[in-house]
């Protein structure tokens, strides 16, 4: 079959036809040869008959005994092969003749009929000799061979031909069927792939909407939290102006710093959270990860809900999509908050579980979120993971929350359990299988000491306040900074003088050219000039990273700015984009 499949397509189509043609041709040759042999044999038989007849009519001719000649001829009647016969004397005059009914006797006009084969008849002449002298001639003609005799003779060959043709036809058809099936299979596979892609797209969209739903549900709490943080910063600054006591000033500065850090951490979480990203499992240390989610939970759930994290050291690593874990925890936590209208406590616990526990046949980590809420009625308990199931009033919930939790657990090869006792509380447990894969090596933190840097930097930033601050930060690091308020004027500055060592540009700016276009132009015209982009928009950052540009996400600390500027100057390899988008622990 291998040579067959290697054969070009048009050969495969033509081969059975060629084979049939060859078969028929061979058959014709064999049949022709066989038929010729048979005709020769018939001629020999007729000649022999004629010779026997000649031998027996010799005396009759010599003694002109026509009756004897006729008697000899009539003996031929017994032979069904013979159609007609004639006996001629020495002067070629017909002495006696014989013909079966319906057939003319041989020529009587004096001239002897010619021997040979014609229209299926075989004719032969034999000289009649007596004592070495020719005394006459005998002519004998066979009957035309009936069709059934020919058919009978050729039937064996015909059967062979038919069988051969059938065989080839069957092979041809089987081949065609195989080809059709292969094509069908290809088509089915193509459709399947397409459907899978569509489904994946739909699932992505669902995940994204689930995330946005969770964010939406958190927004109120987060806005409230931000107000608190801004309140801390604002009042801190007010107080800073009214005191000269260095100890007190230091305390106030720390308070402001903490509030700002918290806000930054919160927005980073939110951005990371709402970022559209494909499902990407990685090995996760739950202890570290949950510490990162704590901020979101604490701020998101509101003031009258306490959050308690009980994650012991040594919890096994699991292989999950960390973003989806965050969303799942938030979904469970928001449900818990909603179940406790008068406030209460949400406890998150993690626990290593052996094979067989919780009905799972693998080692796993049980991550449980327990509340002290009103609980769920037992008859509704099995429904809560269904999409669009909700106990909440219209406009309060979509019913997608717990279905995301279920989807996340299943796609992580784990499971989810829910236990509830009305009036006591509900516990939702994520069962995540343990992984033996190693944790990713933590990337080295940027060096703490900040060496003095030198060089001229072109800063392209449209916001005056931000520009002033960044100029300060850069000057603090030792750089000489010149600012351009938008991309076009930045380009003009670059054209005027080739004395900048680096360009640091915001991405989203008014004007015809944004930061990305600027970076592209620079890469084209001054390929040796390093460019560092910065933005608070995660989408824009992702787009720039995708094009291979270096991006520093906003907001950033002085250390991060120093490290990125240094790295950009040295032309170091662009770091993993995930590092930027990942929330700081």
């Amino acid at each position: 079959m291998a040579p067959w499949s290697r054969m070009p397509e048009h050969w495969r189509t033509r081969l059975p036809l060629l084979l049939v043609t060859a078969l028929v041709a061979t058959w014709c040759v064999i049949a022709g040869l066989s038929e010729r042999g048979h005709q020769r044999q018939r001629l020999r038989e007729v000649v022999t008959q004629a010779e026997i007849l000649a031998e027996s009519v010799g005396a009759a001719l010599v003694f002109d005994d026509r009756e004897a000649a006729r008697t000899a001829l009539s003996a031929l009647r017994a032979n069904p092969e013979i159609e007609s016969a004639g006996v001629y004397d020495a002067s070629s005059a017909l002495a006696a003749s014989f013909a079966i009914e319906g057939q003319a006797p041989p020529n009587v006009a004096g001239a002897l009929p010619t021997p040979g084969a014609a229209r299926g008849r075989v004719a032969a002449v034999a000289p009649v000799t007596v004592d070495g002298e020719r005394v006459g001639t005998v002519y004998l003609r066979s009957r035309p061979e009936p069709f059934w005799a020919l058919a009978g003779r050729l039937s064996g060959l015909v059967v062979l031909l038919v069988m051969g043709s059938l065989l080839l036809a069957v092979i041809g058809r089987a081949n065609a069927a195989l080809r059709t099936r292969a094509e069908d299979l290809d088509e089915a596979n193509r459709r399947l792939t397409q459907e899978m892609a569509e489904r994946e797209k739909a699932e992505d969209a669902l995940r994204q909407s689930q995330k946005m739903e969770a964010v939406g549900r958190l927004t109120g709490g987060i806005a409230h939290d931000f107000n608190n943080l801004l309140m801390v910063a604002s009042s801190g600054l007010d107080l800073l102006d009214r005191t000269k006591d260095p100890v007190r000033r230091e305390k106030l500065k720390n308070g402001i710093r903490q509030a700002v850090d918290r806000g930054a951490s919160l927005t980073r979480q939110m951005l990371a959270f709402s970022r559209r990203a494909p499902l990407k499992p990685e090995v996760v240390d739950l202890t570290a990860r949950l510490e990162g989610v704590r901020v979101l939970l604490e701020r998101g759930l509101g003031e009258n809900v306490g959050v308690e994290l009980n994650i012991p050291e040594g919890v096994w690593p699991v292989e999950i999509d960390p973003g989806q874990l965050d969303v799942a925890l938030l979904n469970i936590a928001v449900n818990a908050r909603d179940a406790m209208p008068r406030g209460g406590r949400v406890t998150v616990t993690a626990e290593n579980r052996p094979i067989g526990a919780d009905g799972l046949d693998v080692e796993h980590v049980r991550l449980a979120v327990a509340d002290e809420g009103e609980g769920i009625a037992p008859e509704l308990l099995h429904k809560v993971f269904e999409p669009f199931f909700t106990t909440k009033g219209v406009g309060k919930g979509t019913g997608l929350g717990l279905s995301q939790v279920y989807g996340f657990a299943r796609s992580s090869a784990g499971d989810v359990r829910i236990e509830s006792e009305p009036g006591v509380g509900t516990t939702v447990s994520l069962l995540l299988p343990r992984t033996r894969k190693p944790l990713p090596v933590a990337t080295a933190a940027p060096a703490v000491p900040l060496p003095r840097a030198r060089g001229r930097i072109l800063l392209v930033e449209d916001d005056d306040n931000v520009a002033a601050l960044v100029q300060e930060l850069m000057a603090e690091l030792g750089y000489e900074v010149e600012r351009a308020p938008e991309a076009e004027s930045g380009l003009k500055k670059l054209e005027r003088a080739d004395r900048y060592e680096m360009v640091f540009s915001d991405m989203v700016m008014p004007g015809r050219m944004d930061g990305m276009a600027l970076a592209r132009t620079i890469a084209e015209r001054w390929p040796d000039l390093p460019v560092l982009l910065t933005t608070g928009y995660s989408e824009a950052a992702a787009a720039a990273l995708a094009e291979g540009f270096r991006v520093l996400p906003k907001p950033y600390r002085l250390e991060a700015l120093a490290a990125e500027l240094a790295a950009a100057r040295e032309g170091r390899a662009r770091p993993d984009p995930e590092q930027h988008a990942a929330p700081a622990a």
């Binding site: 005396a59 003694f63 002109d64 005994d65 008697t71 017994a78 007596v130």
Partner: protein, 190 residues
């Protein structure tokens, strides 16, 4: 088939012979009434018998010797016989025609047409040559005495009867082909 045919021929031959005998008895010596072609046909037949009859090799002599056809008694053939044998050969031998008044045992005839005359009747001629390697030919027109071959006329055609017994007595073999043409055959003794 062939045997049946021969039997049929023989039966017919016997009847014909009987009729001929009656005829001959009634019209003795009525030669003048016979058909003009009868004797040329007989003349042609005479030497042709030679091709179907076997002689003892001693009787024929060396291969260069001709075969002798003798007519004993008044010659009915005239020049027809000489014309018939001219250029003909039997067994590679040329033919010679001799005419005699009488025949003796050592006359050297191979084919002997006996007419009979006052000098020697047909029966006498046959008696003289009995046992000698001579193919004796007699004619129903000349009486009832029969040699090995006896001409008869059947249906206006010249036919013959064969006495195979007499042939055997004379040391001759007659071909079955010739026997099959005879209107009557007297088989040789077993």
């Amino acid at each position: 088939m062939r045997r049946e045919g021969r039997t049929g021929v023989r039966t017919a031959g016997r009847l014909a012979a009987a009729a001929l005998a009656l005829c001959a008895f009634a019209g003795q010596g009525a030669h003048a009434q016979q058909r003009p072609l009868e004797y040329p046909v007989k003349a042609a037949f005479l030497h042709k018998f030679g091709a179907f009859v076997g002689w003892p090799s001693a009787a024929l002599g060396p291969a260069s010797e001709p075969m002798t056809v003798c007519v004993v008694g008044p010659d009915p053939f005239g020049p027809a016989l000489d014309q018939a044998v001219r250029g003909q050969k039997v067994g590679g031998r040329s033919l010679r025609v001799e005419r005699h008044r009488t025949v003796s045992r050592g006359a050297g005839c191979h084919i002997l047409y006996l007419r009979g005359s006052s000098a020697q009747s047909v029966a006498d001629g046959l008696a003289v040559t009995a046992g000698a390697p001579v193919l004796t030919v007699t004619d129903a027109a000349d009486g009832n005495a029969r040699g090995v071959i006896h001409f008869v006329v059947v249906g206006g055609r010249v036919r013959f009867e064969i006495d195979d017994r007499a042939a055997a007595r004379n040391g001759l073999t007659v071909s079955s082909k010739l026997l099959s043409l005879a209107v009557h055959v007297r088989p040789r003794e077993r």
